[in-house]
Symmetry: C2
Subunit: 119 residues, 2 copies
């Protein structure tokens, strides 16, 4: 039951699109990630997903619109909704989602990560 310093966690790795697990509660994971470039379009069958920009900004693309998130801004992507995060410059984010969540949802992609590191 130690505190979690998100900046320290983020400073411990440098690769993009590879979320790390920093906390677990009530069947959910809290993750941090560095993102840059375009992710893959995907959705999650059973999991709502919350994104929060911690540093920098990124765009959440939906099929009908895009939403830009800056530091301190969050968005909840409901289950079943196709989305694609895109970051022109490197952005640091936090994620809240069920433990069952796979980063690319129902899509199998070069971005798919199935065995996330706990840091």
């Amino acid at each position: 039951m130690d505190k979690i310093n998100l900046k320290s966690k983020l400073n411990s790795f440098s690769d993009h699109w590879n979320p790390r697990i920093v906390a677990e509660l009530n069947g959910q994971y809290v993750k941090v990630a560095k993102i840059k470039g375009e992710f893959v379009w995907h959705s999650h069958s059973n999991e709502d997903e919350m994104f929060m920009a911690l540093q920098g900004e990124f765009v959440m693309e939906f099929r009908d619109r895009t939403i830009t998130l800056s530091e301190g801004e969050c968005i909840v992507v409901p289950k079943g909704v196709e989305h694609r995060p895109v970051a022109e410059e490197e952005c640091e984010i936090m994620l809240f989602e069920p433990k069952s969540t796979v980063n690319t949802g129902t899509v199998d992609s070069e971005f798919t990560k199935t065995d996330l590191e706990k840091i």
Copy 2:
């Protein structure tokens, strides 16, 4: 599915120890609150609770130690663990916890809030 600006949400109220709900996902609520002073000792029977300091700092007291949280730092308080948040100066926090969570857990107190506002 709009974005949530936590700072704007926090700027919309001024009272202490009265969390507002800003998002809901997977049976969990995301809440923000302003805290100042000493809360009441309590625990939650069935809910783990995550606190994140967004601005300022606060102390999470446990029966055997205290942990100071500054901006960007989080802590998960597991179900059943007695705790008491204390903030010498006003601190803005985010909470992530099951929808069933009552702020004072199993303790009925002047601090108890049972009908939280969604903002």
